[in-house]
Point group: none
Chain length 184, copies 4
DNA sequence: CATGAATGAGCTTTCATTCAT
DNA sequence: TATGAATGAAAGCTCATTCAT
C-alpha cells in the first residue's frame, strides 16, 4: 500500500479515502475488466452452442471470436488482464483462465465427438482435449503478455491458432481413419 | 513456516532442527532437482550444437531429447520442478524456464535462418520464434503439471510436439516459397 | 542450557535430571558460596560493632578481616563469586556487593563521626564515605577478578588497602584540623 | 523492543519508524557520545606523550585532564556513558573502558620505570600498575554513576585522585629506596 | 539413567490499517 | 480533504523445557 501510494504520489492515508482496504482496491481495479471479459465469454458460449445446433464446425471461426475479444481486452487493460489470468489465485477471479480453457475444451470436445461418432470422450481424449485447450490459452496469454505492438499481436495469434487448428485437423482425420478401420 | 510446520504436523521450532531457515528449506528441497535439470540442459545444448555443425536438422529429435529429460524429472519430482518452473521468482532458479525457452528458441531460430537463407532474424521472426518456443515450453509444463499417469504423459507430449513440428514445417515452407518468389 | 550441557559433555535433557530448570541450576551453583559469604559478613559486622563499643579504631584490622574472608571465597569460588558480585542483577544475590559496601561504609562513617565529633554525616561526607567504600570494594573485586595467582592476590590487596587507609587517614586528619580551627 | 516501546509509551511498530532495527537504535543512542569520548581520548594521549618527551611527570595534571573530560561527558550523557563503560560487551564500544585503563596504565608505568631506573616492568609491577589503573578508572566510573549533583562530582573525583596520587607517591618512594639499598 | 527430537512462548521485524491534526 | 505518525497482528526465528525411547 505504501508503494502504491508513493507511485500515485499521494499519502498512504489518502489511499484509504478512495478504497476501503487493499482488497477493495484490488477488486475496484480488476472488476470492470473482469465483467467485460465475463460478458464476452457468455456471448461466445451462446454463439458456440448455436453453431453446434446448426451443425457448423468451423473451429477457426470460434477461435477468431475468442481471439478478437481477448486481444481487445488485453490491449486495453494489459495489466489488469494479466492479473486476472496469472495473478488471481485466492481471489474470485481465479476461475477466469480456467473458464476460457473450459470454453476452448468444449469446442474441441464436440469436434472429437463428431469425428469419433461417440457421445462421451474416453480418458485419453479428455486429457488430449484438456492439454490442447489449456496450452492454446496459455500460448495466447504469452503472446498478449510479451508483445506490446498491436500488429505483431494479431499476426502471432493468427499463427498460433493456425498451428493448433492444423494440428487438431490432423488429429481428427487420424481418428476418423481409425474409426473407418474399426468399422470395416 | 508456521503453515509448513502445521502441514507437516510438527511444531514450528522443530522445523528449524532440520532446516536452518526458510531459505535453506527452500534450497534443500529444490537444489538437487535443479542441479539434475541443469546437467541435462548442458548435455542437450552440446548435442544440439553438435548437430548444427553436422547439418542435421531433425527438429523432432532434439525436442524428443528435451522431452525425455523433462518428463523424467517432472515424473520424479513433480512438486519441485513445478516450483523451479513456476514459483521461482526472486530465487536463483528463476532462469530455469527462460533457459529452456532460450534453448528451444535457438533451435527454431536456426531452422528459420536456414529456410530464409539469412544470418539474422528480423523483428517479426524473432517475435514468432519467441512465441513458438515459449508457448511450446509452457505447453509441456502444463502437461507435466496436470497429468499424473506416465503413459498419458508421453502420448500428450508427443502430440504437442507433433503439432508444433508440423506448424513449424508449414511456416518454414511458407518462408521458403516466399523466398523463391522474391528471387525469381 | 545447550551450551552448559555441551560444556559438561552431557545431553541437554540430562541437565534437567539434576536441576529442575535454569533458575534452580543458577541458585544451586551460587547459593552455597553466597551463604558462606553471608555468614562471614555477619561475623564481620559483629566484630566491627564490638570494636566500636570498645573504642578500637584500627581500620586496617577490620579491612584485613574482610580482605581475608573475601580472598578465601574468591580463591575457592572465583566464578561463583564473580557472578554474585557482578552478574546478579535481578536475582536474590544482587544485594551481595551493596552489603559489603554498606559494611565498609559503616566503618568509614564511624571514623569520620569520631574525627568530626558529630552524630550524623552531612551530605558531602555521606557521598565521600559512599565513594570510598564502593570504590574500595570495586577495586578489591577487580583484583580478585583479574589475578589468578595467590601470592600476587595478597600483595595487591595489601597495596590497595594501604592506599585507601592512608587516604582515609589524611582525610581524617584534615577534618580534625578544620574542627580545631572552628573550635578555636 | 516491546519493553522499550512500552517504556516510551508507544506501540512497538512505531519504534521502527525512528530506528531501522534494534542495532541502529543502540548505535544512534551511543555513537555520538562515544565519538566525543574517543576524540577526547586521542587528545589526552597526545598531551601525555608530549609531556613524556618533555620530562614532566606531574601525574595529577594528566589525571585532571582525564577527569575533566570524563566528568563533562558523564554529566551530559550519564546513561549513554554508563552503557559505553558498563554495558557494551559484544559491541564496538566494548574497548572504551579498557582504553581508558590502558591510558592510565601507561602513565603509571612510565612513573614506575623512572623510579626503578629500568626499561620494562616485572610481573608484579605490571599487576600493580594494572590494578591501580583499573581500580582508579572503576572508582571514577562509580562516582560518575552514583552522583547527580555537579559540585559533589568534582570534589569526590578530586579526593579519589589525591588518594591514588598519594598512594602512587609512597609506592614510588618505596621503590626508589629499595633501589638505593640494592645499589649500595 | 541418558538421549535428543519435539514443543511453544517470546523475540525482532514488517506492513496493512487507523486517526488526530 | 490530505497527511503521516501510530497501531498491532502476524511473520521468521530462538531457546528453555518436556518426554518418548
Amino acid at each position: 500500500m505504501r508503494i502504491i501510494a508513493a507511485n500515485a504520489g499521494i499519502a498512504i492515508g489518502n489511499v484509504y479515502r478512495y478504497y476501503k482496504n487493499k482488497d477493495e482496491l484490488f477488486h475496484e481495479l480488476v472488476q470492470p475488466v473482469y465483467e467485460s471479459y465475463e460478458a464476452n465469454m457468455a456471448e461466445m458460449r451462446q454463439k458456440i452452442s448455436f453453431s453446434y445446433r446448426n451443425d457448423t464446425t468451423d473451429v477457426l471461426k470460434y477461435y477468431s471470436n475468442i481471439e478478437a475479444t481477448l486481444i481487445d481486452l488485453f490491449k486495453t487493460f494489459t495489466a489488469e488482464m494479466t492479473i486476472v489470468f496469472n495473478r488471481s489465485e485466492g481471489t474470485k477471479y481465479e476461475h477466469a483462465k480456467p473458464d476460457l480453457i473450459k470454453l476452448s475444451f468444449s469446442v474441441i470436445e464436440s469436434m472429437i465427438l463428431k469425428a469419433r461418432g461417440t457421445d462421451v470422450l474416453n480418458e485419453y481424449e479428455t486429457a488430449l482435449a484438456q492439454m490442447l485447450s489449456s496450452s492454446l490459452v496459455e500460448g495466447l496469454c504469452l503472446i498478449l503478455r510479451d508483445n506490446v505492438e498491436g500488429d505483431t499481436y494479431n499476426k502471432l495469434v493468427d499463427q498460433l491458432l493456425r498451428i493448433y487448428s492444423a494440428g487438431l485437423d490432423s488429429i481428427i482425420k487420424q481418428m476418423e481413419a481409425s474409426r473407418r478401420d474399426q468399422t470395416e
